[in-house]
Symmetry: C3
Subunit: 131 residues, 3 copies
């Protein structure tokens, strides 16, 4: 298992970890296989989305804030239930195929660590398997 | 393929299946690999989230009810469209790495079967692969 | 890596690709393993849901439109931010176990390509791994 570290800078944000993942794939020497990515945190998540226009990340953040506001009736004492909900909506793991030693992403696709309760030091676990 | 059975007790609820998954991993004898988990139902789902404070599950249920209410205009005759929508929002499968014969979960993370149209007898399919 | 092509017909819609996936599984000769499915687009997604009553797809579309409307304040110039958000909510990849040469889906389950910004020509990447 390999690891990526991300120091997030704000309460919420999306961090493109594709270059770090690509470096791990290169290092592994695997030409064809699958890169599995796992977020061990419960107030962050992982998602694939557009890596070209940063406005997409802005709009994604706005949408998630609208979908998961602080709700009257929430009981969790830490006050970060909106972040836990966002984590489950986006999911805490994902995978990308590897072809010819490279991550096989769509033309406009990046892999994002989504921070929902930052800023914090976050880790992402990675497993690269030949197939 | 291995199987876990969960008898859910209410219309909606989150059931920590991490101990049963860990037992299957132990039984498999796999030291390093991936544990794949699949929910064959369309009104239930799987998610990773906090396993410490049960209030997180309460708040997650509140949020999902708010995000997926019965909507005027729904056509599906069984009346459980809100549950189908929740199932797609959370997803019907997930995976966890295995290290040294144990599920590699984050410190506060558990694997949950999410029931959205219970109570029912639910099954979860599991595949444990060395890597 | 194998590929499925889907020509979507409307702005939004759900396309059952289970038969094409099953054909690829058959062609691969793999009896037991995992079928991994990846959507290389950022305004489409993949989900598992009911394949019997088409009204479930209708209701799913209604729900996603309600959850991800055009929001005042969105900045992304192409105007398809609602589609990007839906893509991250459903996710861009999934997997299904293979048993005895067949996709191990639940009784009412199909694998759907979800189009959110069509009509377009879409591709789905597939990897079939023995295990």
């Amino acid at each position: 298992m390999r690891q990526i570290e991300v120091n997030t800078r704000d309460r919420q944000g999306f961090y493109d970890i594709s270059p770090q993942l690509q470096a791990l794939v290169h290092e592994s020497g695997v030409d064809d296989g699958i890169c599995y990515i796992f977020c061990p945190h419960t107030t962050a998540g992982l998602t694939l989305n557009e890596n070209w226009d940063p406005d997409v990340r802005h709009d994604m953040g706005m949408a998630l804030d609208a979908l998961s506001p602080a709700r009257p009736g929430y009981r969790h004492g830490e006050g970060n239930s909106p972040a836990h909900v966002k984590s489950s909506l986006l999911g805490a793991n994902t995978f990308v195929f590897i072809e010819n030693g490279r991550l096989a992403l769509g033309r406009w696709q990046g892999v994002y660590l989504a921070e929902f309760d930052g800023p914090r030091g976050r880790r992402v676990w990675v497993k690269i398997v030949e197939s």
